[in-house]
Amino acid sequence: MTMSVKNSEIMVGVGLRHPHFSDILTQPKQVDFVEVHSENYFGLGGAALSVLTQVREKYPVSLHSTSMGLGSTQNVPMQYLARLKTLTQKINPFLMSEHACFTWGQQQGQLIHSGDLLPIAHTLQTLTKMSAQVDKVQNFLGRQLIIENISAYVKFDESYFSEADFLARLCQRTGAKVLLDINNIAVNSMNFEGGDIHQSVADYINELPVGSVAQIHLAGCTEPLTGEMTIDDHARPVSDDVWLGYQQALIRFGAVPTLIEWDSELPEWSVLVDEAKKARDIAHATLARKSI
């Protein structure tokens, strides 16, 4: 029997959005870290960046990027990377993450950004291209990246790797780690795999090597109308299915930093804190059972 898990052994954080700036700065510390979307702080100055700098004095910060599009056949533009590097140097985040998706393309010869996380074909060619992009970005930033699985609403017929296998191979090639979003697995399960979320999560995490996951995201989304696809809107508390998936992930990957994401219909700060507390309690109970 090993020692039971202590509170300090798992970091549980929340996504920080503008309406909670005052709460995070004025209330006692109730979460272990915060995560922000990098692009929201790409400005050269101003109030938001000032707040983030103050938050950084109190909390570890994770920079979660949403626009890099590492799986694009287009290269990530240098102007984007330069802004991210400036922010990285200013904030010194403890984690930096992005998504396994594409965002950049061309229309009529002009570079465009999709404004969304678009799915990639899980093929060797995409793996090779994306590995090169991840290498380039990691070298440029001097940081390890954590790559998140995405929720998708269409799929490429060309894919022959599963997403989990693709991510495992990507990490093996680049030294990056996986950001495991349990809700995204659940959304894809409901949209493409018949909705046995427990099985989908089990299959997914069993394809990822132990030690490959550096962060877990938890979120909830709005129930779809009958016959409609589930949209990953981050507008609800974490669902029971996702909490169960979280326990499965903890058993396999251990006490990795865990984040509560909530982006739409933002609740009071206290609701986010309560969700984080629930995650911490579940982690302690699960990891304690695991250690027996």
Partner: protein
């Protein structure tokens, strides 16, 4: 299955390379080009594509509403959604940051029917954009040690570098009043500003000089007097202090000392420079 054997399962790798590029291109096209035929022929799940299309429009509308709060407060929702849709197609985002998207929105508005019906909309958009840029602009304060040049240097050789968040521009519309009517924190002041704006819009248009500046973090908007406007536009165009003072020498109400006091209070100046000519 190892990586090499994976490629042996079907098509050869070069075919797949081209195929992946084409699929990414096709997916982007079908999301952006909102035509039923394109959707029917693309081979992707129609419900999924419609989710991406809707997300794109919602994200774009949210971004523009944040960057152009005055314009969107003035527009009905059906018109604003249509404008966002059109603007996405003529000026697609290309920076990876919605905050930086909208630089050309003012010009775009001037080319639209609603822009023709309400000609002040384009100028409102320009003002919103300047305020938006100031909000995210570099934090700058006066290099106060350079103030001593004003007493030591020759005005012909002195130049003022303004804080990067300062923007001064001419307009034929009551932009400050329209802006205050929507953003002043005091309800009574908003009503007064709305009344003033309506009065000015109903009368013969007179050119105004409007300034955006950022004393600390919150950008401010004000209308400058004709002489202040002429003086600042001269300085901003790179003219020396002496040349800029010349531009207002016939205005007895203009006082450089008063202007300087206000400029320091409003954090307008970054540095004063001396250039030997």
């Amino acid at each position: 299955m190892n990586e090499l054997s994976k490629t042996e399962t079907g098509k050869n790798e070069s075919t797949i390379n081209e195929s992946v590029k084409n699929e990414q291109r096709l997916l982007l096209e079908v999301i952006w080009n909102d035509e039923p035929l394109a959707l029917a022929q693309c081979g992707f799940n129609a419900q999924g594509i419609n989710i991406y299309r809707r997300n794109l429009l919602v994200n774009a509308q949210r971004a523009l509403t944040i960057s152009f709060p005055t314009v969107f407060a003035l527009l009905d929702s059906d018109i604003s959604e249509s404008l966002v849709y059109q603007f996405l197609r003529v000026s697609a985002p290309n920076r990876g940051d919605w905050t930086q998207w909208g630089e050309h929105f003012s010009h775009f508005l001037s080319t639209t029917e609603v822009g023709a019906d309400y000609p002040y909309l384009a100028d409102c958009a320009a003002l919103d954009w300047y305020v938006h840029c100031a909000l995210h602009g570099r934090d700058q304060t006066l290099a106060s040690s350079t103030l001593q040049l004003l007493s030591k240097g020759e005005p012909e050789q002195l130049f003022i570098a303004f804080n990067q968040n300062v923007k001064v521009f001419k307009t034929a519309y009551p932009l400050t009043e329209i802006f205050q009517a929507h953003h002043n924190s005091d309800e009574l002041q908003r009503k007064v500003a709305m009344g003033d704006a309506q009065k000015v819009l109903a009368s013969v248009s007179v050119e105004q000089v409007v300034m955006v500046y950022r004393p600390e973090f919150q950008p401010q908007v004000t209308t400058l007097s004709a002489s202040e406007g002429a003086f600042m536009l001269s300085l901003l165009s790179g003219q020396s202090l002496a040349q800029s003072l010349d531009a207002v020498k016939y205005d007895n109400e203009f006082s450089f000392e008063q202007w300087l006091f206000t400029a320091i209070e409003r954090n307008l100046i970054n540095i004063i420079k001396e250039k030997k000519i």
